[in-house]
Amino acid sequence: MSIEVRNITHIYNKGLPQESVALKDVSFTVEDGEFLGIIGHTGSGKSTLLQHLDGLLKPDEGQILIGDVDITAPKVSLLAVRRQIGLVFQYPEYQLFDETVAADVAFGPRNLGLGQEEIDERVRESLSMVGLDYEKIKDKSPFDFSGGQKRRIAMAGVLAMRPRVLILDEPTAGLDPRAHRDVLNMIRAYHKSQADSIIILVSHNMNDIAEYADRVLVMDKGQVRMHGTPKEVFARSAELREIGLDIPDLADLAEKLLARGLHVPKDAFTIPEMAQAIAMQLRGGKTDPAAEGGEDA
């Protein structure tokens, strides 16, 4: 199941003095099983785009096809859309409401009309997926937990709907480094556990995008500025900086080392990879077979 966004335009407060164009002629496709990263500075239209993908907002122009269903059609069943798509908003912990953790996580599956047994099974599974102990916490109030734990509970609430497409809007905002890592690894684990599932991740952290995403979409002023693999996108560092973004730390390091004449690859997005390349260079040997990206510098 792929996602196809065709020329969507969205205007807020149409006809009022506060009118603003949030999305302008946006088109792209996401393939089956893809992990798409979306970057763009604040106000570039990322959140508006995500809400369109879940049918929460309707575009003023254009279509969005999920599989072969046009979710922008007037009479489409949005419940059917939400069976396929899970959207984790920014700071999802602020949507917790029920008396117990188990009841809160069960909210989504119950709305999908599943049977009690299936719901219990899913609640148990999703809580363990986010690294929480079901037996220990199921009857506690979700408000008795720390911020990071609340976020996990809220994410479990979306995972319990078993979406084929999981969309996350800055899921790591405000988390400490360890929780940050945990959340990203959870997302990766979910991606691997569900065959052909699509992940769409919005983040301001270029390192995460470089490490996790298969493809990257760059938004600027409501338009798609770039769309490609992390390697392709992060090679255009000057352009990215111009629109208020940055490149991953390792790409930045590579750029600086290359400027000083050390031949390291520009697209080593993990620390071990980069460390090895630098070590090879320092040990001598002008050219390095493992570091092809550095040749042309």
Partner: protein, 266 residues
């Protein structure tokens, strides 16, 4: 959807009404509302209507924007109209079962509904053309003499400005929470009343929690900036009456005098 509520919001602009001193606008609105209830004949009503129409034109706020605010309280107006319709004795016009509509009833009903509509439009004009800050500053200054007899005028004004300031914030918050719950499959639009009321819980609980959190943060931020009440507090922009404010006051007095004369004469 929730952003469609225009009642009580500020409409950015630079009309003559936007530039008037907030104190004169508050007093004028109060006076206009009182006059609306003094009026009891068609001609006076027509005068009030024309006065407001001129005000609306001067404010340069689009009529459709103003009327959208009325939608929210349409039911209240309808209820008042129907209630008044059957309440008065007089020459019977229509008889439905045991209820009768009389000429007096019809007149009163039309007057009451008309009053409500004019009242709401006139007070919306005040909020459309005055920023919340100006509004509360104006109120504070107007209430200042009352602080001598123990009315906490500064505190009241501060509470009002905080309340007004957070209306859009809470609307945004509600919108966000609704969308988040909709993304989890919640359905707020179908089902019977009981079902719909139940569906409000996933919105209301997070909304209240957010409100308390915001209030706590706000109180802390105010204390961190040494807020200690109204004593000795100065204002960056001092309000001063200008020529246009005096002219407005004169026009308003003439209008009030006219309406009162009408009432006494007829």
């Amino acid at each position: 959807m929730i952003r469609d509520i225009t009642l009580g919001q500020y409409y950015p602009g630079d009309s003559i009404l936007h530039r008037l001193d907030p104190r004169i606008k508050i007093l004028a609105t109060l006076a206009y509302i009182i006059l609306l209830f003094i009026v009891n004949e068609w001609i006076g009503f027509a005068a009030c209507f024309v006065f407001l129409a001129v005000e609306v034109a001067l404010s340069k706020v689009p009529l459709s924007y103003i009327l959208r605010g009325l939608k929210v309280i349409f039911l209240v107006i309808l209820f008042t109209f129907v209630l008044n319709l059957f309440m008065y004795d007089g020459e019977v016009l229509v008889r439905i079962w045991k209820l009768t509509i009389t000429d007096q009833g019809l007149k009163r009903a039309l007057f009451m509904a008309g009053r409500l509509i004019l009242l709401i439009i006139s007070s919306s004009i005040l909020t459309f053309t005055t920023t919340p800050i100006q509004l509360t500053n104006g109120l504070e200054r107007l209430m200042k003499p009352l602080s001598k007899i123990g009315v906490p005028s500064h505190e009241i004004a501060m509470m009002m400005s905080i309340a007004l300031r957070f209306i859009p914030t809470l609307l945004d918050e509600t919108d966000k929470i609704m969308k988040a719950q909709q993304a989890r499959g919640a359905d707020f639009e179908s089902g019977n009343i009981l079902h719909r009321a139940k569906q409000m819980i996933p919105i209301l609980v997070p909304l209240f929690i957010s409100a308390f959190r915001i209030a706590q943060d706000m109180a802390l931020a105010m204390e961190a900036r040494c807020y200690h009440g109204g004593q000795g507090r100065t204002s960056m922009t001092e309000m001063r009456f200008r020529r246009r404010d005096y002219i407005t006051a004169v026009i308003l007095l003439l209008f009030a005098a006219g309406i009162i004369t009408l009432r006494v004469l007829i």
